[in-house]
């Protein structure tokens, strides 16, 4: 059973206070009792010794006896020499006890002491005889004081324990109450209200780390949601213009009678636009799938040279139209531990960009480089127009286009390629860097960490197999 903090505190306080007070109280009680008893015995002895027979003619005022005092003086042979009116209770047997309590019916309990002393002998002049004095006095006041002390200690202890527990419970609850309001605040947070934060001031300082971390987490969540919202807004806005174009073209065409030739031309235009629209939708769906798929990545051993050569082969098809040459420089025996689909998608994005943004008779270079730390770089360099410095930080943003809008020659660039490529690189634990010079060209470098590189050493067999695969199959 899980105990609440309050209950634990209450039990601990109660136990501590009571144990402490019980121990202390007992100590106080017994110490006081011993002192009072010693006092009682002393005063009994004093009275016993001031009996006339015992004190003789000694100086000093005799101490008067109490009403309830009793005594009995016996000499060595057991003959009673003097006694009080009432019989003191005799010591039991032949053994003499120095001090004890005796209970008689009909009166309060007595304290009886027995002393042995020398007194002047009766009858013989100047002789001393040893006598035993049994003296008992009432222990009533002794008992009364002690019982009051016991009561006071017990009462205080009980009350202190309860009071301390109550205070502890109250303080504990009060200290924890802000947690309830914090819990309420958290309960009200949903994806629309991620900008709320917990107030560290209202909670005990011990909880500050928890509050800070929770607020950080809310911040990260808010950022992620904001990015997602932004992406969706950008995406939906990107879809509107192509849709508007289709709608407008079709409406205009239908407003008047048209020749079959004119209608065919319109249908052809619309077909092109629909295909482009579909490509955009596909990219958007890919992005959604990318996010969902992270947990379903199939990380496997991929031979870099083979995989990249296959991508280069696809890029060459594009390059044919653009009169661009694709050159590869791939070291064999380099193995990566990545999701093969992501690698392919990422490299194809970069390669197709490099081909499309190139100049006629330009080149695209694809090469691999191992880094000192055990990681690897996959480099795609083109001889295109380059990207201006002010655009470079933004090119990985979704739908960002360096020209701010679509190109006049028709929109083959949806603005998502680099964004997706970057998200693939990040899922591999790496990143994509870009360097560009306007008029000279651009170089994209995929930097992958050692984790993405396989420890598997390239074998001769692999080199041979690699060489065989490098021949493109058309």
């Amino acid at each position: 059973m899980r105990h609440t903090v309050t209950r634990r505190v209450a039990i601990a306080i109660l136990a501590t206070v009571w144990v402490t007070l019980v121990v202390g109280g007992c100590f106080a009680y017994w110490t006081t009792r011993a002192m009072l008893l010693a006092d009682l015995d002393d005063s009994l002895r004093a009275r016993a010794l001031s009996l006339p027979l015992v004190a003789g003619g000694a100086n000093g005022a005799p101490i008067p006896l109490h009403a309830s005092d009793r005594y009995l003086i016996q000499n060595e042979v057991g003959r009673t020499v003097a006694r009080s009116v009432q019989e003191p209770p005799l010591a039991g047997g032949t053994e003499l006890i120095d001090a004890t309590f005796v209970r008689l019916p009909g009166s309060h309990r007595l304290r009886r002491i027995a002393l042995r002393t020398s007194v002047a002998a009766a009858g013989s002049a100047g002789g001393l005889e040893t006598v035993t004095i049994v003296f008992s006095g009432s222990a009533e006041s002794f008992d009364r004081v002690l019982s009051r002390l016991a009561l006071a200690l017990a009462g205080t202890g009980l009350l202190s324990g309860l009071a301390a527990t109550l205070v502890a419970v109250h303080v504990s609850r009060a200290a924890l109450r802000p947690l309830h309001s914090a819990a309420d605040v958290i309960a009200m947070i949903d994806e629309r209200s991620l900008d709320r934060r917990l107030d560290a001031e209202s909670l005990p300082p011990e909880l500050s780390p928890l509050v800070d971390r929770t607020n950080d987490m809310l911040g990260r969540l808010g950022h992620a949601f904001a990015q997602r919202r932004q992406f969706l807004a950008d995406a939906s806005h990107e879809l509107r213009t192509p849709v508007a174009a289709l709608l407008s073209t079709l409406q205009v065409s239908l407003r008047r009678p048209r020749t079959e030739q004119a209608l065919r031309a319109v249908l052809a235009h619309c077909l092109t636009d629909v295909k482009m629209l579909w490509r955009l939708v596909e990219r958007l769906l890919e992005q959604v799938h990318t996010e969902q798929r992270s947990s379903q990545d199939k990380v496997e051993e991929v031979e870099a040279a083979t995989a990249l050569a296959a991508c280069a082969h696809v890029a060459r098809q594009l390059a044919l139209n653009a009169q661009v040459e694709v050159i590869t420089d791939l070291s064999p025996g380099l193995w990566l531990r990545v999701d093969a689909d992501r690698l392919r998608s990422m490299m194809l994005n970069l390669l197709s960009n490099a081909v499309e943004h190139n100049r006629p008779a330009g080149t695209v270079q694809l090469r691999t480089e191992e880094t000192p730390g055990g990681g690897v770089k996959l480099i795609v360099a083109d001889t295109g127009g380059g990207i201006a410095a002010e655009h470079l930080p933004h090119i990985f943003e979704p739908f960002y286009r360096a020209h701010g809008a679509r190109s006049q020659t028709g929109d083959r660039h949806l603005g998502l390629g680099l964004y997706l490529a970057q998200s693939h690189a990040v899922s591999m634990g790496g990143r994509i860097e870009v360097a560009s010079e306007v008029g000279r060209g651009t170089r994209f470098t995929v930097v992958l960490p050692p984790d993405a590189v396989s420890r598997r050493q390239g074998k001769l067999v692999d080199v041979l197999r690699n060489a065989h695969c490098r021949i493109p199959m058309d």
Partner: protein
Amino acid sequence: MRILVAEDHPSLARSLCDGLRDEGYAVDITFDGAEALYLASTHPYDCVVLDIMLPGLDGWQVLQQLRAASRHIPVLCLTARDGVADRVRGLDLGADDYLPKPFEWEELLARIRAAIRHGHRQPSSVLVIGDLEIDTVRKSVVRAGRTIPVTAREFALLNYLAFRKGEVVSRSEIWEHLYDMNDVNTSNVVDVYIAYLRNKIDRDAPVKLIHTRRGLGYVLTNEPQA
């Protein structure tokens, strides 16, 4: 009426151009913001259809600079961005109207007509001069209760003269408002169309509405001349 379409998406620009020409407007297209600003500053358009996301200068800047130069051409902003913030910004920068994409053609045409009316300070879509009624929506011309069939060009000319009712309009002004950049200015095409209109509207009517001012131009009015 002459319209400038500034839109960089090729298909959309083409369909806007074709559709508006079908409606009898003279249309110039541009794909670039800087060019849009230049054209709008140097030609007397009756309306500019302006996309916000343009290469070169973006639509906001075109609008801002147009207004800063006191060009009062009516501007209809066309854009895929449809947040309230964007609409407010467009209107505050001086746009006369704002239409998000995708749009319905009927709405686009109505808003353009409204923008042109505002530009010419015409509250109503039916222009009345004497017993001549010109319905700019239905593209109909009625004089003394009798409907007069006119061609699209004739209607455009009559419409423009009616907007400028009572003012003398030169031939070159007429040309600038009824023909776009692609047309070649033949010397007397305006005179020819004025003659067609007179034939249809004034010939059988007691009161002449279309008047010539020698050396200055033409004027459509039913007031007695000074």
